[in-house]
């Protein structure tokens, strides 16, 4: 007998899903442009804001997936993934918008506290995940490290030679996060996690 009991969503449902995702992306972009002054914002702030929005939207999308396609194995992995993504997004937003509401000192220590919390959640995620997820995490890290260290070397050489202007550490952080997200998509797609 070759009957498969897995019910894959129909093509229409998949197209509808993609359309919903595209619409969500459009609405997010429109909302982001509406609440921020992207034209007057420095490029490094814009980039980090975009990264923060991507991380938070990914976390929200993960919440939807968790409720629509619940899975008991690996236990707690979904929740931890959401916590890690949300904290990463908030940590990128705080240095930009936090000083409006509190002193920079307080915001800095809040970021450090969140960073510790996120590191713990990341470690728990690694311990909870099964071997495929661990492999994807390791491949993402390796790919991102390889890409970023190559780019850093080229940039450092050009900067030392006085050919380009210096980039702020904040800008580099945004670039690093962007590269990491792209590497994460590539590693996930290679292992079939994106389908």
């Amino acid at each position: 007998m070759t009957v498969s009991l897995d019910r894959k969503p129909s093509l229409a449902l998949r197209i509808l899903g993609i359309a919903a995702l595209a619409a969500a992306g459009g609405v997010t972009g429109y909302a982001l442009a509406g609440v921020t002054e992207l034209e007057t914002m420095p490029w490094d702030d814009s980039l980090n804001l975009l990264m923060a929005a991507l991380l938070i939207v990914s976390a929200l999308a993960s919440v939807v997936v968790m409720f629509t396609r619940p899975s008991s194995v690996p236990k707690g992995c979904g929740v931890l993934q959401i916590v890690v993504l949300l904290l990463a997004g908030v940590m990128l937003l705080l240095p930009m918008y936090g000083p409006t509401y509190a002193s920079p000192d307080l915001i800095f220590w809040a970021v450090v506290a969140l960073l510790i919390g996120q590191s713990v959640a990341n470690l728990m995620l690694w311990n909870t995940a099964d071997e495929l997820f661990r492999r994807v995490m390791a491949e993402t890290s390796a790919l991102a490290f390889w890409a970023v260290q190559l780019a850093l070397f080229v940039y450092a050489a050009a900067e030392r030679l006085g050919l380009i202007q210096s980039i702020s550490a904040w800008g580099m952080m945004g670039i690093l996060m962007g590269v990491y997200l792209v590497c994460s998509v590539i590693a996930s797609a290679r292992r079939g996690l994106a389908t």
Binding site: M1, T2, S4, D6, S71, V73, D130, R191, G192
Partner: protein
């Protein structure tokens, strides 16, 4: 590496989620194994062999 996971699972009328539960891995891992996108570790290969009650070499071929 090729494997007969999909056939063996279908013979038992198990869904990917059911097999994943028996193996203690995610459904995505079973899917990646079946589509050849991921080769299991040795401990997982042994577990698969135990679940299907077959020797490893009859499930996995290179």
């Amino acid at each position: 590496m090729n494997n007969r996971l999909k056939v063996l699972r279908a013979e038992r009328n198990w869904s990917q989620a059911e097999l994943a539960d028996r193996l203690g891995v995610s459904r995505q891992t079973v899917n990646a194994l079946e589509t050849g996108r991921y080769d299991p570790s040795l401990p997982l290969a042994f577990k698969i062999a135990r679940v299907f009650e077959q020797p490893i070499e009859s499930i996995f071929t290179d």
